[in-house]
Symmetry: C2
Subunit: 332 residues, 2 copies
DNA sequence: ATGAAAGCGCTAACAC
DNA sequence: GTGTTAGCGCTTTCAT
């Protein structure tokens, strides 16, 4: 077996309580004793067992993170923000992918609470009823990162997606466009249905432009689908002149569709989208976007979670981080 | 306090051992008793405490994963493969980023072993001496995923980078090129110095082409640096005619440099690179690449780890997965 | 400043 | 088939 606190105590001729004190930096230890203990720890190669510590102290210094899919840059970037702050406060992260399946999300919540995480960060594109219920009786603090909570029930870090969408579409309108197609991921997602779409419609209405259902193109959230969607859009009886796209991957699909058809952005079509990755800077023309501070959303979420776990006062637990429009070459 | 196994036992008029048995699916329980216990569990809302279980059983059903940076698509994709197999075998994952700093890697190893993970997957671009030493005395199985171990000491899942590089360069040579630039991330990384570079050189030598140091361009591993590197390459006294690039992000940097200078791929230059993400399919022209099965590397690594953790026999613990050349439009 | 002792919630012999 | 009991390795009162 490996060396325990008890072995150290015996070796140093002190009680395990004293060893525990020096390991935990408790000041109530005479310097000479501390040195002696430290010495034995070193010599025996003692490493505290975090599981035993967790059982005794009821703190695991571990937080759970549930997200749809780490292989999507949106979440990977958020995760990096979360992880850096977690490191700073000395928490580990148990990361799991839900693929946005509510049953799976529920399973994971139960699993992670069972593992006694000290807190949880949850990401998804909607909060289902079962999930809401389970999170309501969570034994530890929960914060939603980059995730829309219609009920405003949980602590949440986001940007104002609706307003951002509004501004993007407004920009297109200011450039003289009236036939603006909205290309979006599944409308089953609250973020699309309740925010991006609403912002799009509000901008049109404020400019007295009719909202046309056939100008709202819903696709599965991947590059190939967006690329094929272009063919559908090409057939539209009334031709659009501009695109507002829900994210950069879809936007590049549309862009490539346009370009492979021998047409040009921004001459034949202007386009603006949300920015979640390097893509908008990498393609040609570079895309004008609404930059989403993903890393910051993750970092702020984790910071908030640390406060909640420490039972510190928090001024505001529903925060909207600023976004900005990144002017590049897909809009004149 | 929350409900414990003891509460359930009392409520069901059985011993905690029996409750433990039904919770763990031990068949030595009379069906009627099982039903009664299950009923109380349901009624009291009992959830097993995984920390206590871990302390008693010495198994945490948690594995540690150390990687340089989850926000890089290379690692995110690997991680997805790891995570899916982990889910299948009911392990959780503690994920942490090392930024390739050996001190940090060491810290994380110690931290994760302290948390009593049942196994560990390690990724990095080199295995430093301290890290090697710590992993050698690991209390649990370790496997390296997508990570070069010069000493062949640890279980490892990889592709044959050297051979892949060889084939890529050979392809360029077959197309008549003699002045082929190798653009690479830092040579401090074993994978670049010991594999990709060697494959490049071997291909040249086998074709009796001189290896020129000024044709090996080392850059920091990001898009902007590759983009600027183009300007440096442009100044080369002898002009290259083709590029072999260490990864797709760097390749796109070079590609954009070329195109923004008004030149064309594949007409003015041909280019081939390793493929780690969607990028090669997304840019125009689409890039000819060596496809690396990242997801599979992750999945196979995790599968191997499960066997090791179960002390099953493993036929081979150093595996090279197949790679293939993906013909697209950056090579004629 | 230090020690003794009682748990934390569970598993795993072992006994019946 | 079920109960008893001794830990797992630590933290945390409470004494001293």
């Amino acid at each position: 077996m490996s060396v325990t606190i008890y072995d150290v105590a015996r070796e140093a001729n002190v009680s395990m309580a004293t060893v525990s004190r020096v390991v935990n930096g408790n000041p109530n230890v005479k310097p000479s004793t501390r040195r002696k203990v430290l010495d034995c720890i070193e010599r025996l190669g003692y490493r505290p067992n975090a599981v035993a510590r967790g059982l005794a102290s009821k703190k695991t210094t571990t937080v759970g993170v549930i997200m749809p899919d780490i292989s999507k840059s949106f979440y990977a970037e958020l995760q990096r923000g979360i992880a850096d702050i977690a490191t700073m406060y000395e928490y580990n992260i148990i990361l799991s992918n839900s693929d946005e399946r509510p049953e799976r999300e529920l399973e994971l919540l139960i699993d992670l609470f069972g593992k006694q995480v000290d807190g949880l960060i949850f990401m998804s594109d909607s909060v289902s009823e079962e999930v809401r219920e389970e999170m309501s009786k969570a034994p530890v603090p929960v914060v939603l990162a980059g995730t829309v909570d219609g009920e405003q029930q949980f602590s949440t870090i986001n940007i104002d997606y609706e307003q951002a969408a509004y501004e993007a579409v407004q920009k297109l309108i200011a450039n003289g466009h009236e036939r603006i197609v909205f290309v979006t991921g599944p409308m089953t997602r609250d973020i699309n249905r309740l925010h991006k779409k609403i912002g799009y419609e509000r901008a049109l209405r404020d400019a007295s432009i009719e909202v046309r259902e056939d100008f709202i193109i819903e696709v599965q959230d991947n590059y190939d689908n967006a690329y094929s969607a272009w063919k559908e859009i090409e057939q539209l009886p009334e031709k659009p002149t501009a695109f507002f796209v829900g994210n950069d991957l879809l936007a590049v699909g549309i862009l490539n569709g346009i370009r492979d058809a021998g047409l040009s952005v921004p001459n034949d079509y202007e386009l603006i989208c949300f920015e979640h990755s390097l893509l908008p800077r990498i393609v040609r023309p570079q895309l004008t976007t609404i930059a989403v501070p993903l890393y910051d959303i993750g970092a702020v979420s984790m910071r908030l979670l640390t406060k909640l776990m420490n039972e510190e006062e928090v001024a505001e637990d529903k925060v909207l981080l600023p976004h900005r429009i990144e002017e590049r070459d897909s809009v004149k």
